[in-house]
């Protein structure tokens, strides 16, 4: 997603075992049976998938917001838009560039974060929490399994 991020050479010896979700990606909330899994893409998007509601909250990663610089404008998809994994669903303009955002999973957009209209800086201050972009009702929840774990994601750009 973000051109200002230099992709470090991938460690050839690194093995990508993305099929298993590692404990660090699953948050078990006490008293609640909801399980939320966080998976990442190479284009620096994050999906926090709640398997009970079938909704994935899409955000950009902390690393992405750092590379982007100050976000001045966010363009979000319309609620109800049907998206396929890899479709452009919006764009972010920062002082450094206008970058497109892509759908990490397929489904229907059920909600967008209206707060970003007046506070685009939320993407910098709280990219993976308050600065969430939109929520997608996944049409193919198994797509989550093919995305990267936090460790694998970090390996794609860490030196």
């Amino acid at each position: 997603m973000f051109s200002t991020i230099r992709q470090a050479a991938r460690a050839r010896t690194m093995s990508l075992t993305t099929a298993r979700t590692s404990p660090s990606n699953i948050m078990r909330i006490p008293g609640c049976r909801t399980i939320v899994t966080k998976k990442y893409t190479e284009e620096h998007e994050v999906v926090a998938f709640d398997d009970e509601t079938g909704l994935g909250a899409v955000s950009i990663t902390h690393h992405a917001q750092e590379s982007l610089g100050d976000v001045v404008f966010v363009e979000l998809p319309a609620v109800g838009t049907k998206v396929s994994k890899g479709d452009q669903i919006g764009a972010v303009e920062s002082v450094k560039a206008a970058s497109d955002i892509y759908a990490p999973v397929s489904g229907i957009v059920t909600e967008v974060n209206e707060a970003l209209n007046s506070e685009p800086g939320l993407l910098n201050r709280s990219p993976e929490e308050k600065g969430w972009l939109c929520k997608i009702k996944l049409s193919a929840p198994e797509e989550i399994n093919a995305l990267l774990t936090l460790e694998s994601y970090k390996a794609t750009w860490e030196a």
Partner: protein
């Protein structure tokens, strides 16, 4: 017809693009350096976008062009706030919303535009700025890059830049003021709407200068040659430039035609305007009237009037800001409403 004292062979002598064999008729660019002799900004921007979306992802590409006088605003800007629309209309100068971010610039034949396209993963806007800086310095001009990545001479901007990134590619494009009419630039970019608050991107104003102020010899041709040499050296490219024009066959490519049709359309030009609020006040014989207009995507969401009944304000909801005909309103426009509407219409109107 602008003639170039170039070392290069015109495009007719070379294949411009390939067609993939088989059922697919996708046409792709095959050169690394393109020089457009068209001065049609709709063609140049659409051609640039076509190159961006269709050139081989891993190969660096350079495009250079000039436009006939026009004002170009960034993707997420507000034309009512950035462009003196009346002055532009009066001088027959169009304004265009481009696809990259950033602020508002003025183009004329004294300004040369550059566009460097590279793979997303290796994009570094500082490095691309250096390609241009080295070209300017090679012309004997003591230029620098400021903290906003703009090329400056003597503390004034000679160039403004904008950037776009998609999944596989990124570009850095920008202007270079060589012999531009700076007083026209100043007129068209001067807007005095302090009470219009936009959620879009605001331009950062800077004093500007022409390269010609620092060198007697500098010209569009010399700048183009210098940038081509600098680009070739940086990326190890040896291709000769391909010269294109909007009268070539390639201008008939569907993607380019669609781009040229989209750019002047209301949906793109005005309909992409981010949310804004505009508060204006005027004294009338019965008292002051304050109007607070809230719009998004060029359409009025609400208009609250103090000093008048609410009928007129409600009638504006859902209408296109600046493009409302009296008949569309569906309210009785007499008495106070008539004069208030005449005032609001005048304030909003994009053109005379």
């Amino acid at each position: 017809m602008i003639s170039f004292s170039f070392r290069y062979v015109p495009s007719a002598a070379r294949r411009l693009y390939t067609t993939a064999s088989g059922a697919s008729s996708v046409i792709t660019p095959t050169h690394s350096i393109y020089l457009s002799t068209s001065t049609n900004p709709y063609f140049n921007l659409s051609f640039e976008d076509w190159l961006f979306r269709h050139a081989p992802q891993k190969e660096p590409l350079l495009l250079l062009y000039r436009d006939a006088p026009c004002v170009v605003i960034g993707r997420n800007q507000n034309p009512w706030k950035e462009v003196n629309l009346r002055a532009a209309r009066a001088q027959g100068i169009p304004w265009i919303r481009r696809r990259s971010g950033g602020g508002t610039v003025y183009h004329d034949l004294g300004n040369t535009n550059f566009s460097i396209h590279v793979p997303r993963t290796t994009f570094d806007r500082g490095a691309t700025a250096q390609v241009i800086l080295r070209a300017v310095r090679a012309l004997g001009i003591d230029a620098d890059v400021n903290e906003r990545n703009d090329i400056c001479v003597g503390g004034e901007k000679a160039s403004g830049s904008a950037y776009k990134i998609v999944s596989g590619r990124a570009y850095h494009h920008g202007t270079m003021l060589i012999t531009t009419r700076l007083e026209t630039l100043g007129d068209l970019l001067r807007v005095d709407k302090d009470t219009m608050i936009t959620k879009g991107v605001a331009s950062v104003r800077s004093p500007v200068c022409n390269l010609a102020q620092f060198s007697k010899k500098v010209s569009h041709e010399m700048f183009v040659n210098a940038v081509v040499d600098s680009f070739k050296a940086e990326y190890g490219v040896h291709d000769e430039p391909c010269i294109v024009n909007d009268t070539d066959d390639l201008a008939r490519i569907g993607y380019i035609q669609r781009g040229m049709a989209e750019l002047p359309s209301w949906d793109w030009a005005f309909g992409q305007t981010p949310e804004f609020e505009y508060t204006i006040k005027k004294p009338f014989v019965w008292g002051d009237v304050t109007a607070h207009i809230h719009a998004r995507h060029g359409v009025i969401l609400s208009c609250t009037l103090q000093g008048l009944d609410s009928e007129l304000g409600k009638a504006l909801e859902g209408k296109r800001y600046g493009f409302i005909e009296d008949e569309e309103l569906g309210v009785d426009l007499s008495g106070r409403r008539e004069v208030v509407w005449a005032w609001l219409n005048e304030e909003m109107k994009s053109y005379d």
